[in-house]
């Protein structure tokens, strides 16, 4: 088995079989990263550039660790300290980096579609690590992988994504991934933060958190992305928390035990209270650990499509 694509640009572009292959490969890597020596030599002759045109801590660390666990050579780049500030175009920046013999590019960019654009113009495998409010495919993969690990399967499960859907690439990628794997998805949040056309994706909309929680098996709590909000989408943070914040009282009042997820970074006390984030129903830290295994799988599978003969020549 191999992936049907040469780049991971979004969940939209890959098949269910691709996702299953990534999960099965991630199972092996999860075992490997729990060994006393957590490294395999597979990608010794592959060089990967991590290009972050937008801030990131966890995703960048997770990718870098995944690459190093596979023995790839890694170079890092942050736009704040680069020639982008001097007016260089994206293609020029990347081609300059590729001329130093780089085989794969992991890129986060503020503009939606930046990964797709780049994949058409440069000769390297591209992994999208988040492009604006478009997609964040590896986050969706690790979220679905964590659900599979916790509940045994994703198919047939009910997942509600709560919070700022409008600005969230995590929400969109999650919707695609979960639906491809046969889960039912609803979104929940203030009407102002739910995109107009979301129902066209076959996603239910719920504006009452309690109703959403009573329906679901898994609640994925998103962060309120204040930095992306150009206007006021809700009156006050306090009011948002009252209506859409997940706390122990509401969780305990449900007649079932749901799984709580959060892609991080958490605003404790806003979308989720500390006691919920640290409770045994929360799999937030498992998500982070699975992130490394899933990213190793993605990088390994994409690298296996770069034929050795192309590197030698």
């Amino acid at each position: 088995m191999e992936l049907s694509v040469n780049h991971l640009l979004g969940i939209k572009y890959i098949t269910e079989a691709d996702i299953q292959l990534i999960f099965e490969t991630a199972d092996h890597f999860k075992e490997i990263i729990n060994r006393p020596i957590k490294k395999v030599p597979s990608l010794r002759d592959i060089t990967i550039a991590n290009l972050f045109f937008e801030n990131s801590t966890r995703t960048k660390l997770s990718f870098e660790l995944a690459e190093k666990r596979l023995s790839a050579d890694v170079i890092n780049f942050a736009s704040s300290s680069s020639s982008v500030a001097k007016g260089e175009t994206l293609i020029d920046t990347v081609n300059n980096i590729l001329s130093m013999k780089v085989d794969m590019v992991v890129m986060r960019h503020p503009n939606p579609g930046a990964g797709v654009f780049l994949s058409k113009h440069v000769n390297a495998s591209i992994v999208n690590a988040g492009d604006g409010a478009h997609e964040h495919p590896t986050q969706a993969l690790l979220d679905a992988y964590s659900i599979r690990e916790k509940l045994g399967d994703v198919a047939g499960k009910k997942v509600v994504i709560v919070g700022d859907i409008l600005h969230s690439r995590v929400a969109l990628s999650n919707i695609f991934a979960l639906q491809k794997l046969g889960a039912k998805v609803k979104v929940c949040g203030p009407k102002t933060l739910i995109p107009k056309y979301i129902e066209k994706l076959n996603v239910g909309v719920e504006t009452n958190l309690r109703n959403a929680l009573e329906w679901c098996d898994v609640a994925n709590m998103l962060r309120v992305q204040n930095e992306r909000m150009d206007i006021s989408y809700f009156p006050t943070t306090r009011e948002y928390t009252q209506q859409f914040g997940l706390n122990k009282a509401i969780l305990d009042s449900l007649d079932k035990e749901i799984v709580v997820m959060h892609p991080g970074p958490i605003n404790r006390g806003v979308e989720i209270t500390s006691d919920v984030a640290d409770s045994k129903q929360s799999i937030i830290l498992e998500q982070v650990q699975n992130g490394v295994a899933v990213r190793m799988a993605v990088i390994y599978l994409l690298a296996s499509k770069i034929k050795h003969s192309e590197v030698i020549n």
Binding site: M1, E2, T25, H28, E31, I32, R35, P36, I37, K38, K39, V40, P41, S42, L43, L70, Y300, A303, S304, I306, K307, H308, V311
Partner: protein, 179 residues
């Protein structure tokens, strides 16, 4: 395609008993020894030997693990077919242990080379030995030889040695397959 029987069920059984005795001769009660079956095909032989040692030779607490070598292979991105991994299951540390690698056929030696690297993720063994049911002569790419062998066979490069196990293939037999 034609195939010739190299070993039948009785001959395999005799070889297994001999290999078990040779292991006991060297490893005594197996208190400092661990067996590691190389995935995918080595695990059948390893399980057989473990059962034989425990039931017929009354040796208790034999430690057996499975080692997958996929991510340690030297032909990643060189073959047309993508490499498929299997499960590694080693629930013990190999530090200062006598390790016995168990595989069905020793051919080029490259799998064993990978296994030698892979096993280091679980500690530094005191010593590593190799046991194979079939040793294909004249086909080695690397200076690797078995310490215990069931049968040595001469097979040319176009030929394939196929080891069948009752629990997986319905019968115990070793075939030489010619294309």
């Amino acid at each position: 395609m034609s195939q010739k029987v190299l070993l039948n069920a009785t001959e395999i059984n005799i070889a297994l008993n001999r290999l078990a005795c040779q292991l006991i001769e060297k490893h005594d009660d197996f208190s400092k020894t661990v067996l590691i079956g190389i995935q995918p095909r080595g695990v059948f032989l390893a399980e057989r030997l473990k059962t034989l040692l425990e039931t017929d030779y009354k040796i208790k607490n034999i430690k057996l693990g499975y080692l997958d070598i996929t991510f340690f292979r030297d032909d990643f991105r060189r073959s047309e077919k993508p490499l498929e991994a299997n499960k590694t299951k080693i629930n013990f540390i190999v530090e200062d242990k006598n390790v016995v690698f168990i595989d069905d056929v020793l051919f080029t030696g490259r799998s064993i080379r990978s296994a030698l690297t892979a096993v280091q993720s679980f500690g530094r063994p005191l010593e590593i030995e190799l046991l194979t049911l079939i040793d294909r002569r004249f086909s080695r790419h690397l200076p690797i030889q078995p310490d215990y062998r069931g049968r040595q066979v001469d097979a040319i490069n176009g030929e394939k040695v196929k080891v069948c196990w009752k629990e997986n293939d319905g019968e115990d037999a070793v075939y030489l397959v010619k294309n």
